[in-house]
Symmetry: C2
Subunit: 358 residues, 2 copies
DNA sequence: TTGTAGGCGTTATCAT
DNA sequence: ATGATAACGCCTACAA
């Protein structure tokens, strides 16, 4: 008559009850062909009677050295996964690839400073492969993943040794947009970008700060915009950095930028979300788009088409981005090697938010 | 001169190299105050030199018996988490609560049949608490979670012993909507619902099928609609079941329902997404909303306000739903008891898609 | 402050 | 077909 507290049954408990060894019980669950149907039946029954929930997943992971999960690291709060339009489309693509492979998708929190998950968080995450999305180039999380020796695929990140990668021609897309505006006769521009560095910077960005940008996407889009303009002789373009890709931020940026006599006739934004804010700012100031000011975005999220006016923007294949990342991740999961990066094309989508400068 | 293959270093390796015990190395990572700063420093240095990535998360989980993760089970594909508007708002709320607690969010794939994760998937998932959302009442996944003894919080599910729960008054909301339409003088109705059972059913739903519905949400909204109508003497209301909450499905449903002389003058939908499809169907058929037919939705997702025409709908606090679920989950994580269910209110939002029946 | 020893629950490799 | 036994890598009293 034991007085033990009701401890959860384990493989051992069941083995003892049935009178077989642990190995056999384990086999009953994982290799039905390794034991007689009758014995297996008896084991499973006793297990049920004992309330044994089946092999513990953590213990199994320890023994098998894999956990049937793919992790996703982002540079933002967890909730951005579901609220940021562009990000959630990428995740949709990733998820649709992972779906049907019976793997869980582990979302790692990125911390409020946009710097990506803390190394400690990475160290604790249980996954067989990790997908990193738009982290600062020098994010500690990237090093932490490498330290753990986990295979990784990066999206919108610089080249990293031994890492699969899907990339988009951000600079080229940005140039397309700038060229479009130049063709329309614009000569006075402004640029609105999201974070250049994960430090919450918000406001006009100095050339020095531009040079120090650690977010590859911001940097490339910005460089694309500015270099195309410079090639056409347009210099001294004001750049406004928003601390995130949220329209409230660009709205107030827009209100400043679009005020004054020498206000720009065209605003280049690093994302559609930022462009929406600028559109709102123009409305706030009584400026007509595109008559008074042209606005272009980047991404071509679904809302771009329904904006007021419909937004001219650079389309990038967001779903494909996620999908490819997923495929690369699955390949790495199977022990495959990284291989060359997947390159995705961008296109300019001309809508009604841009027009000839009259 | 060993010829070992380069095996990954473990706590032991480091301990050996430094000349201390495993426990001390472990403490260096987890309890800095348990050893001298100097020794700790030396340990960490050697670890770095050896390429030791720090304590293995799986082994740690096995020993500590928790894994710093909260799991989310849904009745759909993983990708629905990011593409289904209502679901992603709930997840946004959940994520914003979990954010800052340094826990990962584990999304479990639900399988294509909407029946929820397979028991086997549940058995392998590594998490300390699980949140279940809108699964069939008899989903095997629910039993699997209980079998594992994991604490659980359910959203939009029937009462379950020993389980935290957040619930919404779906039936009441539905009654509100039906009453609204009755007041406007409507007498001929149709109802469009999403899945009643996880079997892909799509088409007119018989009373028998209604009675057998296993999705609590579908059942309650449907019951709310029909009982309110019945109380007003309106019977024989056709119900169309769509196999998912997607507008393409309800669009074709709508085209059938809105055809014929005795077509309904009002359509009650189980979700906004379904209502959008019906709106489209009306357009397809050249019917004006609300002049020819009134349409109401359920949820009040952001798009409802911008629909053409703006959609009358039952608002439920989606973000709060997720947030509360998150709070309950965190409480369970801390060893708290389930407590009474959190009840959330719904309200009718009258917009332009409903009007007097003339 | 540091070390010892036992445990966490499985899987995997050989024998038998 | 089954069973011993050794990993898997770490945590944590408790002892020293």
């Amino acid at each position: 008559m034991d007085v033990d507290r009701p401890r959860k049954p384990t493989l051992d408990t069941v083995a003892g009850a049935v009178g077989v060894s642990r190995a056999t019980v384990s086999n009953a669950y994982n290799r039905p062909d390794q034991l007689s149907a009758a014995l297996r039946e008896r084991i499973l029954e006793t297990a049920a009677a004992l309330g044994y929930p089946g092999p513990d997943p953590v213990a199994r992971s320890l023994a098998t050295r894999h956990s049937a999960a793919v992790a996703f690291m982002l540079g933002q709060q967890l909730s951005a996964s579901f609220s940021d339009p562009a990000l959630s489309i990428v995740l949709d693509g990733l998820a649709s690839t992972v779906d049907g492979h019976d793997h869980c998708l582990v979302l790692m929190p990125g911390g409020a400073d946009r710097g990506g998950p803390r190394p400690q968080t990475v160290a604790r995450a249980q996954a067989d492969v990790v997908v990193a999305y738009s982290l600062p180039d020098d994010a500690p999380a990237l090093a932490a993943v490498r330290a753990r020796g986990l295979p990784m695929v990066v999206i919108d990140q610089p080249v990293l040794p031994d890492t699969a990668r899907v990339e988009v021609d951000d600079a080229g897309g940005a140039r397309l947009a700038a060229a479009h505006l130049l063709e329309l006769g614009h000569r006075r521009f402004a640029v609105v970008t999201f974070s250049l560095r994960p430090d919450g910077g918000n406001g006009p960005a100095s050339p020095a700060r531009l040079a120090e940008a650690t977010f590859r996407v911001s940097r490339d889009r910005l460089t694309g915009y500015l270099s195309e303009l410079r090639a056409a002789g347009v210099v001294d373009v004001p750049v406004w950095e928003c601390s995130g890709s949220r329209r409230e931020l660009s709205r107030s940026a827009g209100r400043t930028l679009l005020t004054g006599d020498d206000r720009p006739t065209a605003v280049l934004c690093a994302s559609d979300e930022l462009a929406f804010g600028v559109l709102q700012a123009a409305r706030d100031l009584g400026l007509a788009v595109p008559e008074d000011v042209s606005v272009v975005g980047f991404d071509d999220v679904p809302a771009a088409e329904h904006a007021e006016p419909p937004l001219t923007t650079v389309r990038q294949p967001l779903v494909d981005k996620g999908r490819h990342a997923g495929e690369l991740a699955l390949r790495l999961l199977d022990g495959g090697r990284p291989g060359p990066p997947t390159r995705l094309a961008v296109t300019l989508v001309e809508r009604a938010s841009t027009a000839l400068h009259t």
